[in-house]
């Protein structure tokens, strides 16, 4: 019996299934894209100017929700990267180092303010180019971008307070390579602390989501930042490799998969380049019998379906204590039924489009692996658009610790579920992957939170909450989830020498 026709439940009753669809209908609520200007194609941003790529190549960028091409980006070759590094070096040795730390901070404040002014435009573009729901780009990504610049702006003239007994100095030119899941936010995580510490940057956005980075370049120009302090080069892996291997870059900051992170670390072997890596994860959420179950279910939904599960710290494994497993899973299924999957620009949408065809294929490959490993697959019965890349919210049950779907990062809206009896068992299972980025604990007992939290070998612990971010809050991994921290006072260390 489909719940859509079952009217015996009230939608707000605590013991009922959630059933919004049969009580009221959602009318489409599209965010207008008319305000956002997209050029036909974008050049590279080097030395304060938009310049054509040396080899004249451009690649198309697609809206993953519709399959339509929205613009083209320049493909930066070796000589373009070289030019960008030269511009960054010149700025570092010249104007950027000659202005006071206070003034440096004021540029960042200015950038923060301009992002707030143009927040709506950035949000719309982020959703069009990357497929994330407008509600998330509007309420999470873009506000956090502004907050990040605002936070690090204030550090520029206070750096010595963060490192007692040390005299911090900037590193020089930083090469930064960012992923497609939070394009503008990852740019902010990289550029804000780098600039606050007095460095200059060459940043490469992901090839499927470069639009907001180039819009940011326009903003940098408007803000009057000295030429060459921020350089943006677009392209795919080869462009990234040119940055990693460039001899005149002092530091590499990378966010992306553990596989690519290891390749980068290997390329840097034997060099004096510093690096920080923000890599993959396979976050476990431990739900105890004494947890506030409804809150936990909401938290799990946010942990795995936020941003289509394209989140390195996603809570992609649920470990639920046996006594409440049935109840939690039932409530989870009910809640999943109420998720709206569809047009990223619709303000009602909960889960948007999968970022690219490649990622769509990866997720489907893992669903197949899960099936072959014997998992019970449950998917929401929601409708999904005919065009574009969409995956229904999915649960994989009856899985075991050694299954690939439990060990490997899927990076999609797919949650594995395992049960446990004792806290020690839960901690062991949670820690039993090569990753160590984030974990969650759900219980009403404070002492248990601290005990379990300290047992988790991960850089972030969310207790009775999940997927929360803030510029003041350090973020980063243990083990194979990466090296270094971003955010907070601890994030400064990645961009300074002593």
């Amino acid at each position: 019996m489909s719940q859509h026709t079952d009217t015996t439940y009230k939608p707000t009753s605590p013991n009922s299934k959630l059933d919004f669809a049969s009580v009221w209908e959602y009318a489409p609520a599209p965010e207008s894209a008319s305000h956002a200007e997209i050029k036909e194609k974008y050049d590279l941003f080097i030395g304060g100017k938009f310049v054509k790529p040396a080899e004249g190549n451009y690649f198309k960028s697609m809206n993953p929700a519709t399959g339509e091409t929205i613009t083209e980006f320049a493909e930066a070759s070796k000589s373009d990267v070289n030019k960008a590094v030269k511009a960054a070096r010149k700025a570092f040795e010249g104007e950027w180092s000659s202005i006071s730390a206070k003034e440096r901070g004021k540029y960042l404040y200015r950038i923060a303010r301009m992002i707030q002014e143009r927040a709506r435009e950035f949000s719309v573009l982020e959703s069009m180019d990357g497929g994330k729901p407008i509600r998330e780009s509007r309420d999470v990504d873009v506000p956090l971008v502004a907050a990040h610049f605002f936070y690090y702006a204030g550090w520029a003239d206070k750096l010595e307070y963060a490192f007692p007994g040390k005299k911090p100095k900037p590193l020089g030119v930083c090469g930064q390579i960012i992923p497609w899941n939070f394009p503008l936010l990852m740019l902010a995580w990289k550029i804000a602390p780098a600039l606050a510490c007095g460095n200059t940057v060459v940043l490469k956005p992901a090839e499927t989501t470069s639009l907001t980075a180039l819009k940011f370049a326009e903003l940098v120009k408007d803000a009057g930042l000295p030429d060459g302090v921020v350089n943006i080069v677009t392209g795919a892996g080869e462009t990234g490799a040119e940055i990693v291997n460039h001899k005149d870059i002092d530091k590499i900051a990378f966010t992306g998969s553990t596989g690519v992170g290891k390749l980068i670390q290997r390329s840097l072997a034997g060099t004096d380049k510093k690096f920080t890596l923000e890599l993959g994860g396979k976050g476990a959420m431990i739900v105890f019998e004494d947890a506030p179950i409804d809150q936990a279910v909401e938290g799990i939904i946010n942990a795995i379906f936020f941003n289509q599960g394209h989140v390195c710290c996603a809570g992609s494994r649920l470990l639920v204590q046996e006594g409440v497993a049935e109840k939690v899973i039932q409530k989870l299924k009910d809640r999943m039924e109420s998720l709206i999957v569809g047009d990223p620009l619709d303000k009602n949408t909960d889960v948007g489009a999968i970022n690219s065809q490649a990622q769509f294929e990866t997720i489907n490959k893992y669903l197949e692996i899960g099936l072959n490993e014997g998992a019970d697959v449950y998917q929401s019965s929601c409708s999904i658009p005919d065009n574009g890349y969409f995956v229904r919210p999915t649960l994989l049950m009856n899985v075991s610790q050694s299954n690939r779907v439990v060990q490997e990062e899927i990076f999609g809206p797919v949650l594995t579920i395992q049960t446990f009896r004792t806290a020690d068992e839960a901690i062991q299972k949670a820690n039993n992957t090569p990753y160590g980025l984030a974990g969650g604990v759900w219980t009403d007992k404070g002492s248990k939170i601290f005990k379990v939290g300290s047992g988790l070998r991960s850089g972030v612990v969310w207790a009775n909450t999940y997927n929360k971010f803030d510029p003041t809050s350090p973020f980063g991994g243990y083990k194979e989830s990466g090296v270094g921290r971003e955010g907070g006072m601890h994030g400064l260390g990645a961009y300074l020498k002593f």
Binding site: A147, P164, G165, K166, T258, G261, K262, Q265, R266, L268, A269, G270, L277, L279, P434, I449, G453, S454, R457, S458, G459, V460, V461, W462, A463, N464, T465, K468, D470, T472, S473, P474, F475, G476, Y478, K479, E480, S481, G482, V483, R485, G488, M489, H490, F498
Partner: protein, 287 residues
């Protein structure tokens, strides 16, 4: 009455025991006159693996000791070292230290242990943070030990350098596998005897003697070693090899070049915090 000296057998230190190398190999250690001092263990890959296993086994318990307790144990190492002065003087004398220099080396080593003993319950307050997030959450960052740490001891500072690097690693709750100075390994074994009588749980510090060239890569490539540090200037090929092997498990590599172990820059809380990971915890605030 004449007394034939009973020579000491120098073995390695693994899991709180003093085993010989499983390989049965040895190498000769000579004094400053070129006379044979001892046959030291020529440690092997398997010894490194055993040592890592012991270090991993000891990590859970050691990292959960209270900071106060770790401080007391480090202080206890200093006490024990003080009581074994004459033995260290003899060891250092054998390898060419004058009496005065040996005394200085021992004094500095004891002081360094006391220095890090004092940090155990303080670094968290200096380097941790409470983070004023904009949402209704309480958010704090604590430092936690990285795990099992590989230490390549300095070749030329067989006691002060060794005790400095070990103290910085274990003060923060890590356990370690040390490759002793290849040329002067004997003081490291006396140091192990000090550790063994200082309430340091077995496996927290493991000391392997042997050839750096042979053993470094086994340590750098071991999947259960979380970090590796060295203070000597190593040959470029070795550096590259270490970096490459480290990528297998994203091992943290710390190169701190230290030439003068007496220098005030040779002791720093940053040598302790380099073996720490920052963990940030969030909790909602509400009724």
């Amino acid at each position: 009455m004449s007394h034939l000296e009973v020579l000491k057998t120098y073995k390695m230190y693994i899991g709180g025991q003093f085993p010989r190398t499983e390989s049965g190999r040895f190498y000769k250690i000579f004094d400053k006159e070129g006379d044979l001092l001892a046959n030291a263990c020529l440690g092997s890959r398997k010894d490194v693996r055993e040592a890592v296993k012991s270090a991993r086994g000891a990590f859970g318990g050691w990292s959960k000791r209270s900071a106060y307790n770790r401080g007391q144990i480090l202080y206890r190492i200093a006490e024990m070292m003080e009581s074994r002065r004459s033995e260290f003087e003899k060891e250092l004398g054998n390898i060419g230290f004058t009496k005065k220099k040996a005394e200085a080396e021992i004094n500095a080593s004891i002081d360094r242990l006391v220095y890090y003993a004092g940090w155990t319950d303080k670094y968290q307050q200096v380097f941790g943070s409470v983070n004023p997030v904009a949402s209704a959450h309480f958010n704090f960052s604590l430092l936690e030990p990285t795990g099992v740490v590989g230490l390549i001891a300095p070749e030329e500072s067989p006691l002060l350098g060794l005790s400095s690097i070990v103290a910085a690693a274990i003060a923060g709750g890590n356990t370690c596998v040390v490759l002793a100075s290849e040329q002067f390994p004997l003081p490291s074994i006396v140091f192990a005897e000090v550790l063994n009588t200082s309430d340091v749980p077995g496996g927290v510090v493991n000391i392997i003697t042997g050839k750096r060239e042979e053993l470094v890569e086994h340590l750098a490539g071991h999947m259960d070693v979380n970090a590796l540090s060295y203070t000597d200037k190593l040959p470029t090929e070795m550096v590259t090899k270490i970096d490459e092997l480290a990528t297998e498990n994203i091992k943290r590599i710390h190169k701190n070049q230290i030439e003068d172990w007496y220098d005030e820059d040779a002791e720093s809380p940053y040598f302790l915090t380099q073996f720490q990971e920052t963990k940030t915890t969030w909790h909602p605030v509400g009724f």
